[in-house]
């Protein structure tokens, strides 16, 4: 079971890092497929992972164009109109919420069942932090089309990156703690 959580963690690393040399060296698609394979196993233990599995499947398809082409607005030269790459980018961001929600919800429930209150509350906090940061980012992001104020966008994107990383760490911790059989309390 530990290896499945670790696979989710490594999959998220592929999603979060974009090292671009002509193409993305850590393709998001591979990350989503890794998460998909882990969640398809984990859903047997907890139904909350079902939603995540389907969203990972969708994400692995819609992130394919991103492998070849940057589909983000450039902060210095906001241009472009409403094109399909922009729509895909927006859709990917929204689907990521569903995926992260499902992963966190599943981990939270498993932790709660095992009576690991610390782990459960940490998962809940990190999910809320991630959701808040990414909501701020998603709301602030389109303002670069019309204003030259990019401070909020930069701040929220850095915060979102940190939140994402915190979730990777908690998923790994969940893998470690949940793989241990039930502890017997005396």
């Amino acid at each position: 079971m530990k290896i499945l959580f670790y696979r989710i963690g490594y999959g998220l690393v592929f999603v979060i890092f974009n090292i671009r040399v002509m193409v993305d060296l850590l393709p998001n698609t591979i990350g989503y497929l890794m998460i998909l394979s882990a969640l398809s196993e984990l859903r047997k233990k907890e139904r909350s992972f079902n939603l995540g599995m389907w969203s990972a499947a969708v994400l692995s398809v819609i992130s394919i164009p991103n492998f070849f082409q940057v589909n983000e607005l450039n902060l210095n030269q906001p241009a472009l109109s409403l094109n399909y790459l922009l729509i895909l980018s927006l859709a990917e961001n929204l689907m990521q919420w569903v995926l992260m929600y499902s992963i966190c919800e599943g981990c939270f429930k498993l932790a709660a069942i095992r009576g690991k209150g610390d782990l459960a509350s940490s998962i809940r906090f990190r999910w809320r932090f991630y959701f808040g940061c990414s909501a701020l980012y998603m709301i602030a992001y389109p303002f670069i089309l019309n204003t030259q104020v990019i401070g909020v966008i930069l701040f929220s994107s850095v915060a979102m990156f940190i939140a994402f990383f915190m979730i990777i760490l908690i998923v790994r911790r969940a893998g470690r703690e949940l793989s241990i059989p039930f502890e017997r309390r005396v």
């Binding site: 906001p78 241009a79 927006l90 929204l94 998603m138 709301i139 992001y141 019309n146």
Partner: protein
């Protein structure tokens, strides 16, 4: 996580994207556009003027250079991105009149050469004619002698005003102050003259900078001709004061013309002293946005 929070956030995200894309769309100029110019220039080497234009930042094809078919003797230097606004950039085409040995423009029998359009070339190799307002090019008058005055100081400012002070080197008469555009700009362009002999007349004040206020007699009330003795000075101050009801497009007009002080010495020798009027708008983001709205609504 309560569902209501999800829904609120989704509504905010959708509103932010929808609103920003809508605002972005309606802040675009339908096409690149030159501001409206009032230009008067002498066809002599060294004279130059700027043509200002606005284009969308996101435009796929950008204005690259222009041609003025009526003026084969000019060199045109494009200066893109002089000012940058939220959705547009303002660029300049600097036009300089070059040497006499180039092919010279063909002037009409009478009056100046009047130009209303230029041929604009874009970076996708397309080209089209664009309105620029009006350029009047006139021939230097060989009958005119050297002016019997010497400029002592001059200035212009962001107050859309300026002045020129001259000192007479010989006894002479000032027979008038003229410009091609003065009649058509009578509602917005004020000129005053200050000199000792007319200080008893009704005065008007023009503040040409944060510190400087010049007073003088309005042009229409000056009893021409005025006699000047050698050593006397005269100060011409001008100001552009747009009427209140003027629209957003007129607020961006560019003025670069000449005020002529027409002089005559006691020997009957006629000459002109030229004062350069150069009032280019320094556009604010608000003014550009209003301009775009006015252009979009086809004003």
């Amino acid at each position: 996580m309560k569902r209501i929070i999800f829904i609120i956030v989704l509504v905010l995200v959708a509103g932010s994207w929808g609103g920003n894309l809508w605002y972005y769309h309606r802040s675009q100029l339908p096409e690149p556009v030159f501001l409206n110019h009032f230009i008067e220039v002498e066809n002599s080497p060294g004279y130059s003027f700027d043509l200002l234009y606005l284009e969308n930042k996101s435009a796929k094809t950008k204005l690259q250079w222009i041609e003025i078919p009526e003026l084969p003797n000019v060199q045109i230097s494009p200066i893109p991105d002089v000012n940058s606004y939220a959705h547009q950039t303002q660029g300049t085409m600097r036009v300089q009149i070059m040497d006499y040995d180039l092919v010279q423009p063909e002037f009409p029998e009478k009056g100046p050469l009047v130009i209303h359009r230029v041929l604009a070339h874009f970076d996708d190799n397309s080209s089209k004619e664009m309105e620029i307002g009006e350029i009047q090019v006139f021939r230097p008058d060989p009958k005119l002698g050297a002016a019997p005055v010497q400029g002592t100081s001059s200035g212009s400012s962001s107050y859309k005003a300026g002045f020129a002070r001259v000192k007479f080197k010989k006894d002479a008469r000032l027979t008038g102050i003229n410009s091609t555009y003065l009649p058509s700009l009578a509602d917005r362009f004020n000129v005053i003259l200050d000199t000792k002999s007319i200080r008893h007349l009704e005065q008007k004040e023009i503040s040409y900078s944060s510190e400087g206020i010049n007073s003088g007699v309005p042009l229409e009330k000056i009893p021409f001709p005025l006699k000047f003795k050698s050593g006397e000075t005269a100060t011409v101050t001008y100001q552009l004061a747009l009427p209140d009801g003027v629209g957003p497009i007129a607020r961006t007009d560019v003025y670069r013309f000449l005020l002529h002080m027409e002089l005559e010495t006691d020997q009957g020798e006629r000459s002109k002293e030229v004062i350069f009027v150069d009032i280019a708008p320094y556009l604010t983001g608000r003014e550009v946005a209003d301009f775009v709205q006015a252009r979009r609504s086809g004003e």
